[in-house]
């Protein structure tokens, strides 16, 4: 798999950048040069490469590099954690629906369709209204909608897989359903859900940034890349670095994740190559 990921230069680039950024995010508390919330009004709005602040400071004199690193950490947390949770539940329901068919499928599919019909933004706005702005409402919203995507893909895969000879053979041998699902069906359905997962991580990251940008997501002083851009908006004409740095960071991270997703898709599903 690694060799095939490396075969395409763009995909390789995406993978390397993703790994680097994720590592930076995870290590943020230990490698940040400064406290992300520490204010120093005497050295506010310093440009990048100024003394003691590699990427400069914001309007309150907080170190931009430290805030960016912690912002990345938060983006990655939101992106990966919420995707993993929705993949788990969505995958489980999709597996059950596809494997058992009949009434189980009808019931689960109905629930999937209902959640699938809701606009994510609306769910997020309402949850923010109900729970107050913050990470919890945002992650709940993304999770509530995205599990349905995983369930759809998983169900489709399993519906096709259960008719294959090796599953029939396992059934003929008298192996019980749970074991067939776990050992014989699931491994074949993982690739397709993983491909979707890599795009969903990118989507969740963009979504968190967008929501924090309009002030309904992560609240200060906690740093989020989107919220940093939102704050920088007021200083756009004075110091455009302040909004450029987090913007570029999000763009690079999302593009890298999308390239990685393209690569995974080409490996797992060569039929879709060049899509």
């Amino acid at each position: 798999m690694w060799r095939r990921l490396a075969a395409n230069r763009l995909v390789l680039l995406g993978t390397v950048i993703t790994v680097v950024i994720v590592t930076l995010g995870i290590l943020a508390p230990w490698i940040s040069p400064d406290d992300y919330a520490k204010q120093d009004l005497l050295s506010s709005l310093e440009p990048p490469l100024s003394k003691g602040h590699l990427l400069g400071t914001d309007q309150l004199g907080r170190d931009t590099l430290s805030r960016i690193l912690h912002g990345i950490r938060l983006s990655i947390f939101v992106g990966f954690v919420i995707t993993a949770i929705s993949l788990f539940f969505g995958g489980l329901l999709g597996l059950a629906a596809g494997y058992y068919r009949g009434k189980v499928d009808t019931a689960i599919s109905a629930v999937i369709d209902i959640f699938w019909g809701f606009p994510l933004i609306l769910v997020a706005v309402l949850l923010v209204g109900a729970l107050g702005p913050g990470l919890l409402a945002l992650m709940l919203a993304v999770g509530l909608i995205n599990w349905a995507g995983f369930a759809r893909v998983m169900r489709g895969e399993v519906l096709a897989l259960r008719e294959r000879e090796f599953v029939e053979a396992a059934r003929a041998l008298g192996i019980n359903d749970l074991r067939i699902m776990w050992r014989h069906v699931l491994p074949h359905a993982v690739p397709a859900t993983l491909v979707l997962g890599s795009y969903y991580v990118a989507l969740a990251i963009i979504f968190e940034a967008g929501f924090s940008f309009i002030g309904m997501g992560v609240q200060p002083p906690n740093p989020s890349l989107g919220q940093m851009i939102g704050e920088a908006r007021n200083y756009m004409l004075v110091d455009s670095w302040l909004m450029t740095i987090p913007g570029v960071t999000i763009a690079v991270l999302v593009i890298a994740l999308n390239l990685l997703g393209d690569g995974l898709r080409d490996i797992f599903d060569p039929r879709l190559k060049d899509n």
Partner: protein
């Protein structure tokens, strides 16, 4: 086909019902009281209680819901708690602005993405192809609100060519519609390219070549037409996505559309407006999905039974 339509219609009604309950509940369990937004903060408790009773806010939530539904079926859709405007008026005003924004964005996206997708596929691996795919990746990665700020900085603050917020004449539409179109443009271009590549590999293309039909004619008359099918069937979903995503773009440009007003009414606890706009947004997305399903069924008769 009729069975299919009825089934989708039933689905839409069920989702709308669940949405209406969820929206109603989510708004009311939240801390905050619309009475505070209407009355002077120094108003006496009796005055607050009286207003609450007049608005029906002293009832249990489920009872409030039944009153709400009853009023709607009696043709009384209510009015904004803060501005007194009737809900149909509010929905028509903001809904129309969002529709204009999303529609323009879709037009921009398709007008650029489809020709470029064709070009990229026909000149596969050429510099055109690589440039188009580079911009597609860029377009999918750049956060729209950040792009919006960059454009505001360039065209509004530096060059003074375009207004940067509000709505009014056509010039107000240019920046928000362009920003909103970028993601759709990138996705559609990729889709058009891969759809073209798939069609170019089909037997009928070889047959046409063998018959001596000119290359350009094959591409534009035969291949493009077939390659457009997935784009057309996904247009419904695209519109739904654009209307939903417009919330963030509308907020950046202070474009007074559905999304901007929805966020505002939720924050200010203007229940009737927030409910109306939420339901309109849900209905818009459901209708867009419905159209997408219809388009699929028209394109692929096998799906009509579903």
């Amino acid at each position: 086909m009729i069975g299919f339509i009825l089934k989708r219609l039933l689905y839409t009604i069920v989702v709308m019902f669940i949405a209406s309950v969820a929206i109603f509940y989510a708004l009311r369990v939240a801390p905050g009281d619309p009475v505070n937004a209407i009355l002077n903060p120094t108003a006496m408790e009796q005055a607050r209680a009286a207003l609450r009773a007049r608005l029906g806010l002293d009832l249990p939530i489920w009872e409030q819901y039944f009153v709400y539904v009853k009023h709607i079926f009696q043709g009384d859709t209510g009015e904004s708690l803060l501005t007194g405007k009737t809900i149909p008026h509010v929905l028509a005003t903001y809904g129309l602005r969002s529709l204009v924004l999303a529609g323009t964005a879709l037009l921009i996206a398709y007008a650029i993405a489809i020709p470029l997708g064709v070009l990229a596929a026909v000149r596969r691996n050429s510099i055109w192809d690589q440039a188009a795919m580079f911009f597609a990746n860029l377009g999918m990665g750049i956060p729209s609100f950040w792009l919006a700020l960059l454009l505001i900085l360039l065209f509004g603050a530096t060059l003074h060519w375009l207004p940067i917020e509000g709505s009014g004449d056509l010039r107000h539409l240019i920046l928000p519609a362009s920003v909103l179109s970028v993601e759709s443009l990138a996705v559609t271009m990729r889709l058009m390219r891969s759809s073209m590549l798939e069609q170019l590999g089909q037997d009928y293309v070889r047959t046409l070549r063998a018959k001596g039909v000119r290359g350009r004619r094959i591409i534009w008359v035969h291949v493009v037409r077939n390659a457009l099918i997935p784009i057309i069937s996904l247009t419904g979903l695209r519109i739904g996505w654009l209307i939903g995503y417009a919330v963030i773009v509308e907020t950046v440009f202070r474009w007074p559309g559905l999304g901007y007003e929805l966020v505002d009414s939720v924050i200010r606890r203007d229940y009737p407006v927030a409910q109306g706009l939420s339901l309109l947004l849900t209905l818009a997305v459901l209708s867009a999905n419905f159209l997408a399903n219809m388009a699929y069924a028209v394109v692929d008769p096998r799906l009509r039974k579903g």
